[in-house]
Amino acid sequence: MALYSEKVMDHFRNPRNVGVLEDANGIGEVGNAKCGDIMKMYLKIEDDIIQDVKFETFGCGSAIASSSMATELIKGKPVSEAMQLTNKAVAEALDGLPAHKIHCSVLAEEAIRSALEDYHKRMDS
């Protein structure tokens, strides 16, 4: 049996929405280099819809795949819906993650949430 599902390997090998959004209005970064995973999410939100999303990740295969899948799950969705994204949804969409890699999907959820919080903060000020 392979370490990862086909879906994980697909998103790892061909990550969707990878890179930087210069005109992002919500940016979130979570994790730390000490633990070996950092995820950075860039959101471009207009009319309460996530028009565009990009990510940068330092981490293992499942961290990269989780970031990629998380961006796919929220792209084009209303902010309220993106706020509901759970790590479970990310892991399920990837056809599961090994037990010791679940934290990667948690990080993806946290990165999206952190970017959305940044967006709200910017809107409030």
Binding site: M9, F12, R13, P15, V18, G19, V20, E29, A33, K34, C35, G36, D37, I38, M39, K40, F55, E56, T57, F58, G59, C60, G61, S62, A63, I64, H100, K101
Partner: protein, 394 residues
């Protein structure tokens, strides 16, 4: 496929596999049986013991067959600890970057009331004999220092450490799993009392190894039962595996000098190539190093992603990143030589042999360059480093 993970395991040699197969088919008797068919298996076993002893300069009576390196490490350390405890000596000296078979055994002994001193291995990954000398106390019963490190390949000054132990009357064990069959090892010349080795690291089969214990060193058995291995290791002997181990070791010893020179040349070519990657560093001393070991850290990337993408390019390697170690911490070996977490996560170990061509070495260098560059391309750490928001470590 380019196999560059020989420190993890090696392919069984043709002659070792043939030895195994023919014994399984023809000489499958129990060596403890007294009829001639069983005694034939016993002969095979004792011949293997003699051959292995000859390669490492030991007496056949000093060789005990085990299930591998880990068992040999466990038994050697536990036995020495027990001998020490009987004399009221409960202090053990080791190093910070030993294999877990050693470190975890020492952890257990600590829980049982022993005191353990782990020596610093410095930035180059080498323990100095002076450190051992200074650390030895009245109550020291054992010094256990590996012959060569399994991750960064650094070869330790075993002979000098052994000499100090002899002088001080302290038992000396060495985990020689990465050394035996690759570099010269002689228990007499190197002043070794106890030594562990594993067959699958030198083109023998998996699940078999041996423990050398010098005359007069009473071993404590980990497995109770029959009187096999002079009562020190119960269980019917793995005759085909043991004989195949002897075949593989003889072969490795016979071709060592030539093979080692060829492997070293390829290793140095690989090191030179990888050094060209910006913000990278070789881990471990460049000179006192196993012939086939290359270990690098690349700043701004994580090791597991690197391994998976190299696998896609047909290259098998390993890493000391947290994700490959199964914990949140990167390799204890890299931390022991002073690499900080951020950098230790981005490590790559290539353990090669002389079956690779110079072209294949070039392909590995090119592939690593491409993958590192690609992963840095979307690494937030790399972005911060390039933007000057963080300082480069390497």
């Amino acid at each position: 496929m380019i196999y560059a993970d020989n420190a993890a395991t090696t392919k069984i040699s043709k002659s070792a596999a043939d030895t195994m197969y023919s014994l399984m088919q023809e000489t499958w008797g129990n060596p403890s049986s007294l009829y001639s068919f069983g005694q034939k298996a016993k002969e095979v076993l004792e011949k293997a013991r003699e051959e292995i002893a000859a390669v490492i300069g030991a007496d056949p009576k000093e060789i005990y067959f085990t299930s591998g390196g880990s068992e040999a490490d466990n038994q050697a350390i536990r036995s020495a600890a027990l001998l020490g405890a009987k004399k009221g000596k409960k202090h053990i000296i080791s190093s910070a970057f030993e294999h877990h078979a050693v470190l975890h055994t020492l952890n257990k002994l600590e829980q049982e009331g022993f005191e353990v001193t782990l020596l610093d291995v410095h930035e180059n990954g080498i323990v100095l004999p002076e450190q051992v000398e200074e650390a030895i106390r009245e109550d020291t019963c054992l010094v256990t220092i590996m012959f060569a490190n399994n991750e960064i390949g650094t070869i330790q000054p075993i002979r000098a450490i052994g000499e100090i132990c002899r002088k001080k009357g302290v038992l000396f064990h060495t985990d020689a799993v990465q050394a035996v069959g690759h570099i010269p090892v002689n228990v007499r010349q190197d002043n070794i009392d106890l030594l562990s080795a594993s067959a699958h690291k030198f083109h023998g089969p998996k699940g078999v190894g041996f423990l050398y214990a010098g005359k007069g060193i009473r071993l404590d058995s980990l497995i109770e039962g029959g009187a096999q291995e002079r009562g020190k290791r119960a269980g019917t002997e793995n005759v085909p595996g043991i004989a195949a181990m002897a075949t593989a070791l003889k072969e490795a010893a016979a071709g060592m000098e030539e093979k080692s020179a060829r492997t070293k040349a390829l290793r140095d070519l690989l090191i030179e190539g990888l050094r060209q990657i910006p913000h990278s560093a070789l881990n471990g001393d460049a000179a006192s190093r196993l012939p086939g070991n290359v270990n690098f850290c690349f700043e701004g990337i994580e090791g597991e992603s690197l391994l998976l993408l190299l696998d896609d390019k047909g290259i098998q390697a390993s890493s000391g990143s947290a994700c490959t170690s199964g914990s949140l911490d990167p390799s204890h070996v890299l931390l022991a030589i002073g690499r900080v977490h951020d950098v230790a996560h981005g490590s790559l170990r290539l353990s090669i042999e002389d079956d690779l061509s110079e072209e294949e070495i070039g392909y590995i260098v090119q592939s690593v360059k491409e993958v590192v560059e690609y992963l840095r391309g979307f690494s937030p750490i790399w972005r911060d480093l390039m933007a000057g928001k963080k300082e480069f470590i390497l």
